[in-house]
Amino acid sequence: MSEPAIETKALSVWFGRNHAVRNVALEIQTNQITAIIGPSGCGKSTLLRCFNRMNDLIPNARVEGVVLLNGENIYQLDVDPTEIRRRVGMVFQKPNPFPKSVYENAAFGPRLNGINSESELDSIVRKSLEAAALWDEVKDRLNDSAIGLSGGQQQRLCIARALAVDPQVILMDEPCSALDPQATAKIEQLMTELAKDYTVVVVTHNMQQAARVSNSTAFMYLGELVEYGPTAQIFESPKNELTENYITGRFG
């Protein structure tokens, strides 16, 4: 197996006195889809947010341990969190496009990064929208407001916006829980496509979604990483009784 895209060692997160993530050691493989599952409050979103230092933005949050992005510790003092967030993009539960045109949403990141050439921006916008499987649906309405798109289209626009700054990793936090089954199926199909070029980490409440899309699944409970393994093994013969009880719906 190649070098992991992300590796955590003895990773702990506190919010004030609440120990939300406990001593997690995890390797996320490159160009794979890794799902993180677990009941509400188990620390899965918090863990995800460690991968691009989003927890830095929460007052009271304290992170201990190591998060390596392609071998580099992103919590080192001299690391610029903004640069990390460019390399590790994020998509959220509720589609959150900017109240701007479709085009400007996709061009927003590249512009921030100093790209001003119209032709270059045109090319990035098109490529990102194509990669997010949205281009055909919006190519004739690039200047319309993004808010007029359907929920599923808005979510794919958010994915395009993340792709536009050429990240290595895409983090998805419940990316389909606000979408209908058809829009969900499109995003899941897209995730599989994206994994050819990017490393994808998805947090989901929907266990069937984890089973459908991911290569590896991590199960968290009370801040701890209980079990981590190939998705087929986790869903056929989990080794840990807690995992078994959670995925079979006996608690959670």
């Binding site: 013969s237 995992t243 719906g249 006996r250």
Partner: protein, 212 residues
């Protein structure tokens, strides 16, 4: 952490119930055919009815399994129980079918009796013992219990092979006697195999691996 009955459990229990009915029926069917082989007698009508009944119950288990998969997308031990139940139900239906095959062989030979009574009695005893142990493994889900079956299955296999070899060189048997005994021995050997498959499926159900 609280435990509560899930809607899936209702379906799993209904499926398990049919499987246990099949176990009782399979035991009755195989025992009856073996008895017929030993004592003679016209049990083919009854054995045929039971064998058909087993096939019907197998279809029922399969229908229930598919419905549970479609409705609940089961995973982990739930999924393994469903997969194993389908396989075990098939094995039980096969037991019924081999029992029927045995009484059909008896029908072919004069007097409805197989020739080599002492040999068939010896083999039947082993096979029945295996089948009962296999069923006990299924009822209790105690995989340790199934270990003994490996050895027993090997014994049945070598009994069967040894007998076939001896048969070729035995000038004292008529063709009808030789064929009927060989065929019945063959069906008994297959019954032993399916008893072993059932134990393997119980192992998969409980541990996730077929290695007993």
């Amino acid at each position: 952490m609280s435990s509560y009955a899930r809607p899936l459990d209702v379906g799993l229990n209904a499926m398990a119930e049919v499987l246990l009915e099949m176990v009782d029926l399979a035991e009755r069917t195989v025992s009856a055919s073996i008895e017929a082989a030993a004592e003679g007698g016209k049990l083919d009508a009854q054995v045929r009815i039971w064998s058909t009944e087993l096939q019907g119950k197998y279809d029922d288990v399969e229908d229930k399994a598919v419905e549970l998969i479609a409705r609940y997308q089961p995973v982990a031990s739930d999924l393994r129980v469903i997969k194993s139940s389908m396989k075990i139900a098939y094995d039980l239906a096969r037991l019924g079918r081999y029992a029927y095959d045995i009484v059909q062989v008896l029908d072919l030979v004069n007097g409805g009796k197989a020739a080599d009574k002492p040999f068939l009695e010896k083999m039947s005893k082993k096979v029945l013992e295996m089948m009962r142990l296999s069923f006990e493994t299924l009822r209790t889900r105690d995989v340790q219990m199934a270990r003994k079956l490996i050895e027993m299955d090997n014994e049945v296999d070598s009994l069967y092979r040894g007998y076939l070899k001896g048969l070729i060189d035995n000038p004292n048997l008529t063709a009808a006697e030789a064929v009927s005994t060989a065929l019945i021995a063959r069906h008994l050997e297959r019954i032993a195999d399916h008893a072993w498959y059932i134990a393997e499926s119980v192992s998969y159900m409980v541990t996730g691996t077929y290695i007993v």
